[in-house]
C-alpha cells in the first residue's frame, strides 16, 4: 500500500478540481459549491487512507516519489512526508471541506462569481498540499510562491473593507520573504553540489562553510518568519486576516502560516544545524516578544477578526520558542501546537465569521449581549475561545504545556516569561467573549433580523468535527504525538543537540548557586 503514489495524487487532485469548478458558469453556483465540497471530501478520504498506510516507527520519510523535471539543475518532482508533514497534510484535508461548507453563502452578498471563489479555494488547497509534500527545495519554493496567487485573489476580490490594501500588503510581504529565500535557495544549490534534493542537501549540510551557512539560514529564516509570522514581521497578518472572508482567514492562519514554522523545522534546522544553534537565542527572544506583544495588542482590538489574527501571532510565538528550544518535548509540543492551533483558531475564525455574517460588522462594539439572541452560537464562540486560550481538556493545552516544560528544561527564563502569555490569553479571550455575547443586550443588535436566527444545521455540521477533534486530542493526543515524535527526534538529531536529562537542570541550578 505504501507504493501507492499518495502524495502526488493528493497534490494534483485539488488542482484538477479547481479547473473543473472554474469552468462552471457562474449561474450554476450551487453545482460549483457541491462539486468543490465533494472534491475536498475525496481529498480527505484519500488523506485518511494515507494516514493509515503511514508506518509509525518506520522510515523517517515515507511515500517518497521522484520524477524528472529539469535534469540540468537536478530539480525533480520529489514528494515525501515525515510525521510532521503528515499531520499537516491531515490538518489541510480536514480544514478545507469545513471551510468550504462554512463559506457556502459568503459570495452571495457580493456580485462576484461563486465558482471563481471555490475554484480559488481548491487551487489554494493544491498549493498547500504541495508545499508540505515537497521534498525537493526547488519544488518547495515553487509552491511557496505560487500559494500567494490564489490567496491574493481571495482576499482582494472577496474580502471586506480595505481588501485591496490588505491583499497587496499580504502579497508584497510574502514576496519579499520569498525573494530572500530565492537568493538562499540559489546559494544553497551552488554550495550544496548543484542539487535540490532535500536528502542529498541534508547530507552535504555539514560541509558548508560556517559563514555561508549562516547567511543562507538567514535567507530562509526571514522568509519563514514573515510567513509564520513572527514579531517583527507580523504586520501584514492583522490586515490580511481582518479583510479576508472568515473561511479564507481560517485557512490563512490555520494552514498557510504553518508553512513558516514547518519550513523552519524542515529546512532551517536540518540543513543549517550550526547556524540554527547560533541564531537560536535571537529567535527565542523574538518568540517571547511576539507572545507578549501580540497578546497585548489583541486585548486592545475592537475588530473581532483582527483580534483573532493577533492571538494567532501570539500562538506562533509559542511555536517558535518550542522549535528553538531544541528539546524533543518542546519540538513535539510545537508541531502538536501547529495542528491544534489550526483546529482551535480555525474554529474561532469560522465562528466569528458566523457572527459577522449575521451582524454585518466585525466590530466588538457592534455586539453586546448577543448570547441572549443566539445562545448556541455564543456557546460555540465561548468554547472556541477557551480552546484558543488553552484550557485544560482542550487540545491546545497539551501542546502549550509541552512547549513550556520542554523550554523550561533548557531556558527557564524564557519559559517563565512566556507563561505570562497564558494569562494575557485568558484576558483577551474572556474579555472578547464578555463584550460580544454577555452583558446587557445591545439595542442596535436586536434590530438586526439575521441575529434572530441561531446556529443552522449547516453551521452545526461545520463546527461539530472541529469541536470533536479539539476535545479528542485534548484527552488522547497519542495517535498524533506518536507520528510526530520520531520526526522531531530526527530533526533534533540533525541539529545535533541532546535532550537534557532531568538531572542536568538540577546541576545547572547548583552551578548557578
Amino acid at each position: 500500500m505504501t507504493d501507492f503514489p499518495f502524495l502526488s495524487i493528493l497534490t494534483v487532485l485539488p488542482l484538477v478540481g479547481a479547473l473543473v469548478v472554474a469552468l462552471i458558469p457562474r449561474q450554476r453556483a450551487e453545482l460549483a459549491k457541491t462539486i468543490a465540497l465533494v472534491w475536498s471530501l475525496v481529498v480527505l478520504v484519500l488523506s485518511i487512507v494515507m494516514w493509515i498506510a503511514f508506518k509509525v516507527g518506520g522510515d523517517r520519510f515515507q511515500f517518497r516519489e521522484s520524477y524528472a523535471w529539469i535534469p540540468s539543475w537536478d530539480a525533480r518532482f520529489t514528494f515525501a512526508a515525515d510525521g510532521i508533514a503528515l499531520v499537516m497534510l491531515m490538518l489541510i484535508a480536514i480544514l478545507f471541506p469545513v471551510v468550504i461548507l462554512a463559506s457556502w453563502h459568503d459570495v452571495e452578498k457580493s456580485n462576484r462569481s461563486a465558482p471563481a471563489y471555490f475554484a480559488l479555494l481548491l487551487a489554494f488547497e493544491f498549493t498547500m498540499i504541495g508545499v508540505f509534500a515537497a521534498a525537493d527545495i526547488f519544488l518547495f519554493y515553487v509552491f511557496f510562491e505560487v500559494m500567494l496567487i490564489p490567496m491574493y485573489f481571495i482576499i482582494g476580490s472577496f474580502g471586506g473593507q480595505r481588501r485591496q490594501y490588505a491583499a497587496v500588503k499580504f502579497f508584497l510581504y510574502s514576496l519579499v520573504g520569498g525573494l530572500f529565500m530565492l537568493a538562499a535557495v540559489i546559494g544553497l544549490w551552488v554550495v550544496g553540489g548543484n542539487t535540490f534534493d532535500w536528502a542529498k542537501l541534508a547530507e552535504a549540510a555539514g560541509s558548508i562553510d560556517q559563514n555561508t551557512a549562516r547567511w543562507l539560514f538567514l535567507g530562509f529564516f526571514v522568509a519563514f518568519a514573515i510567513k509564520a509570522p513572527f514579531f517583527p514581521f507580523h504586520t501584514w497578518l492583522p490586515d490580511a486576516g481582518g479583510a479576508a472572508p472568515a473561511g479564507a482567514a481560517a485557512l490563512l492562519v490555520g494552514i498557510m502560516d504553518k508553512v513558516g514554522t514547518f519550513g523552519i523545522l524542515r529546512y532551517c534546522l536540518s540543513l543549517f544545524p550550526e547556524a540554527s544553534r547560533w541564531f537560536a537565542p535571537a529567535a527565542l527572544v523574538l518568540g517571547v516578544i511576539g507572545i507578549i506583544y501580540a497578546a497585548l495588542l489583541a486585548v486592545g482590538q475592537n475588530d473581532l477578526k483582527r483580534l483573532v489574527s493577533y492571538t494567532s501571532i501570539a500562538h506562533f510565538g509559542f511555536i517558535g520558542i518550542g522549535i528553538f528550544a531544541f528539546t524533543t518535548q518542546a519540538g513535539t509540543g510545537s508541531v502538536l501546537y501547529m495542528v491544534n492551533h489550526g483546529l482551535a483558531t480555525g474554529l474561532l475564525f469560522i465562528v466569528v465569521g458566523m457572527f459577522v455574517a449575521r451582524r454585518g460588522s466585525a466590530l466588538v462594539s457592534d455586539f453586546g449581549g448577543a448570547g441572549k439572541m443566539v445562545p448556541v452560537l455564543a456557546g460555540v464562540l465561548f468554547f472556541a475561545g477557551l480552546a484558543s486560550l488553552a484550557l485544560p481538556g482542550t487540545a491546545p493545552f497539551i501542546s502549550e504545556f509541552l512547549v513550556l516544560i520542554g523550554t523550561f528544561t533548557v531556558h527557564p527564563a524564557y519559559a517563565v516569561v512566556a507563561t505570562t502569555g497564558i494569562i494575557l490569553a485568558a484576558a483577551y479571550v474572556l474579555w472578547m467573549v464578555q463584550r460580544t455575547t454577555q452583558g446587557t443586550l445591545n439595542p442596535a443588535l436586536a434590530e438586526v433580523p439575521e441575529m434572530k436566527k441561531d446556529i443552522t444545521l449547516r453551521e452545526k455540521v461545520v463546527v461539530a468535527p472541529l469541536i470533536l477533534l479539539i476535545l479528542l486530542l485534548g484527552f488522547y493526543p497519542k495517535p498524533v504525538t506518536d507520528v510526530i515524535n520520531p520526526a522531531v527526534q530526527a530533526t533534533m538529531q540533525d541539529v545535533g543537540v541532546q535532550d537534557p536529562g532531568p538531572t542536568s537542570v538540577v546541576a545547572n541550578e547548583r552551578v548557578a548557586r
Binding site: 535534469p71 515553487v142 505560487v146 502579497f171 508584497l172 514576496l175 525573494l179 537568493a183 544549490w189
Partner: protein
C-alpha cells in the same frame, strides 16, 4: 603586389542572412511593381516565407562551427541559437506588425510625410491603408541583427549595428496615431543612436590601435600579450561597451528607452523589446567572452556596477510610471540589468542562462505589447494606467492573460520569468558574483510593486465609463498572443529542453 587572394566563403553558413537581405530587396521591388491594394498581402507573405526559410537554413546548419568569409562571420553555437531565437521572435513580431483588423489600415501611417494635424492627416488616420514598406524594413532589421550576433570582427559588427538600427529608426516614426510623439521618438532614437554608434566606431579604432587587428581573435591575442599602451585597450573597450550598452538599454544609457517605447507603433516596440535585446546581448556576450576575456577582472566590477544601476533605475522608475508602455519600457530596462548579471557570470552557465533569459523574456514581452495593442478607445490605444481600471470585469480573458504575463515579469514560479531569473542568478553565484544576485533580488522586490499595481487596477477596481474596450484580436494577433503565453508557461513548467539546447550551444569559436 602578389595575387589578390579571395577569402573562402561558406554560403551555407551565411544563408539565413542572405535570405533575409534578399527578401528585403525583393520587398522593395514589390513596392514598385504591384498595385497598392494587394501589396499588404504579398509583402506579408514574402516576409513570413523569408523568415521561415531563414529559420530552416539555421536549423539545417545547427551543427556548423566555423569562421568564414575571411574571418568576418563566426557561425558557432551561440550564433546558431541566437539567430534561431531572433527569427522566431521576429516572426511573432511580424504577426503583430501585419495585423490589420484591429484598426482600419493597421497600426502604421499611410504616408509618413503628411504634415501632422492637417486635413490629409485626419483622413489618413481615418481609413487609409498603412504603408507596406514596414515589411522590407523589418526584414532588413532582422537580417542586420542576425549578422550582429554572428560578427567576428569589429567592423562587421559596426556595419551590422547600422544595418539593423537604421530601419528601426524609420519604423519608430511610422505610427498612425499620435504621430508627433512617434516622430519625436524616432528622432531621439536616431540622434542618441548615432552618438552611440560613433562611440562604438571610435572604440573600434582605439582597439585596432592597441591590437593591430580588428578580428576578435586578434584582439584576444593582443589582450593576452599586450605590446602597446593599455590605455588604448581600456578606452577602446569602454567606448565599444557604451555603443552596445546603449542598444541593450542599460543605465545610464537607457534614457531613450521610455520615450521610444512609448512613441513607436506598439508592434515595433514589441520588435525592439524582444529582438533588439537579443541582438545587443548576443554581441555583448561575444565581445566580452571572445575578445576581452583576458581583462575580465577589470571590466567585471565596472559592468557589475552598471548592472546594479540598471536594475535599480528600471525598478524604481517603473514604480512611478502612469503609462503602460512606459512602465513596460522601464521593466525592460530592469530586465536588461538581470541579463547583464547573467552575462557577468563569465562562465558557460552565464552564456547559456543569458541566452535562455533572452528567449523567455522575448516571448513574454511580445505577448505583453500584443495585449497593449488591443486595449483601445476611439483615439487608438488607451495606454494610461488609470484607463485599465476594472478591465478584469469587462474582459476577463485578456485581463487574465495580461496578469499571467505580469506575474512572469515579477518572476513568480510556473512562469518563464522565474526559471529565467533562476538561471541567470544561479550562474552569477557560480561565477562568484553573489553581490549582483543580492541586488537582483532586492530590485525584484521593488519591481513586483508596479506589476502588482496593474493587477490590482485590472481586477480589484470597479470599471468606470472611461474603461476602454478590448478589441477582438485578428488571427495574427491571436496567434502571437497564444504563442507568447504558451511559451511563457511552457518555459516556466518544462524549461529542460530549452536549457539543454542553450547548454549545448554555449561554446564560442575564436
Amino acid at each position: 603586389m602578389g595575387d589578390l587572394k579571395l577569402p573562402g566563403i561558406d554560403y551555407g553558413a551565411l544563408l539565413p542572412m542572405l535570405i533575409l537581405f534578399g527578401a528585403a530587396a525583393v520587398g522593395i521591388l514589390i513596392e514598385v511593381f504591384t498595385p497598392r491594394r494587394s501589396r499588404h498581402a504579398i509583402q506579408l507573405t514574402v516576409a513570413f516565407l523569408a523568415v521561415t526559410a531563414s529559420f530552416v537554413a539555421v536549423i539545417v546548419q545547427h551543427s556548423t562551427r566555423k569562421i568564414t568569409i575571411g574571418g568576418a562571420v563566426a557561425v558557432d553555437g551561440p550564433t546558431v541559437f541566437l539567430q534561431g531565437a531572433l527569427l522566431v521572435l521576429g516572426a511573432v513580431s511580424l504577426m503583430l506588425i501585419g495585423e490589420r483588423s484591429i484598426e482600419r489600415g493597421g497600426p502604421f501611417v499611410s504616408q509618413a510625410a503628411i504634415t501632422v494635424g492637417s486635413q490629409k492627416d485626419v483622413k489618413q488616420a481615418g481609413d487609409q491603408p498603412g504603408m507596406t514598406e514596414v515589411y522590407p524594413l523589418t526584414l532588413f532589421a532582422l537580417g542586420g541583427m542576425l549578422l550582429f550576433v554572428a560578427a567576428n570582427d569589429l567592423l562587421t559588427m559596426f556595419i551590422a549595428l547600422e544595418v539593423f538600427s537604421l530601419p528601426l529608426y524609420l519604423l519608430c516614426a511610422l505610427a498612425r496615431r499620435r504621430r508627433l510623439l512617434s516622430q519625436e521618438a524616432a528622432l531621439k532614437y536616431f540622434l542618441l543612436g548615432s552618438y552611440a554608434s560613433a562611440f562604438f566606431l571610435f572604440g573600434v579604432a582605439l582597439v585596432y590601435g592597441f591590437s593591430g587587428g580588428i578580428s576578435l581573435s586578434a584582439v584576444h591575442d593582443a589582450v593576452a600579450n599586450p605590446e602597446r599602451s593599455q590605455v588604448l585597450l581600456y578606452a577602446g573597450l569602454a567606448m565599444i561597451a557604451i555603443g552596445l550598452l546603449f542598444k541593450a538599454a542599460l543605465a545610464p544609457f537607457h534614457v531613450w528607452t521610455p520615450d521610444v517605447y512609448q512613441g513607436a507603433p506598439t508592434p515595433i516596440t514589441a520588435l525592439m523589446a524582444a529582438c533588439t535585446k537579443v541582438a545587443a546581448f548576443g554581441a555583448l556576450l561575444r565581445i566580452l567572452y571572445v575578445a576581452f576575456d583576458g581583462v575580465r577582472w577589470d571590466f567585471q566590477p565596472v559592468l557589475g556596477a552598471i548592472a546594479v544601476l540598471t536594475m535599480l533605475v528600471g525598478a524604481v522608475l517603473a514604480v512611478t510610471q502612469t503609462d503602460m508602455k512606459r512602465l513596460l519600457a522601464y521593466s525592460s530596462v530592469a530586465n536588461a540589468g538581470y541579463l547583464l548579471v547573467g552575462v557577468l557570470a563569465l562562465n558557460e552557465e552565464g552564456l547559456s542562462s543569458t541566452m535562455f533569459y533572452l528567449v523567455a523574456y522575448g516571448f513574454s514581452v511580445l505577448a505583453a505589447f500584443g495585449i497593449v495593442t488591443l486595449v483601445r478607445d476611439a483615439d487608438g490605444e488607451a495606454t494610461h494606467l488609470a484607463r485599465w481600471a476594472g478591465l478584469g470585469r469587462k474582459s476577463p480573458l485578456f485581463a487574465a492573460t495580461f496578469t499571467f504575463i505580469l506575474l512572469a515579469f515579477a518572476g513568480i514560479p510556473l512562469t518563464s520569468g522565474f526559471t529565467a531569473k533562476f538561471a541567470v542568478f544561479g550562474a552569477a553565484v557560480t561565477g562568484g558574483q553573489t553581490w549582483l544576485v543580492v541586488f537582483g533580488v532586492i530590485t525584484s522586490m521593488l519591481l513586483a510593486f508596479p506589476y502588482l499595481r496593474v493587477v490590482v487596477l485590472m481586477w480589484l477596481s470597479e470599471p468606470n465609463e472611461s474603461t476602454p474596450t478590448v478589441s477582438i484580436p485578428g488571427f495574427l494577433t491571436s496567434a502571437a498572443l497564444v504563442i507568447g503565453v504558451v511559451a511563457t508557461f511552457a518555459l516556466g513548467v518544462v524549461p529542460a529542453p530549452l536549457i539543454d539546447l542553450t547548454r549545448d550551444a554555449a561554446q564560442f569559436v575564436r
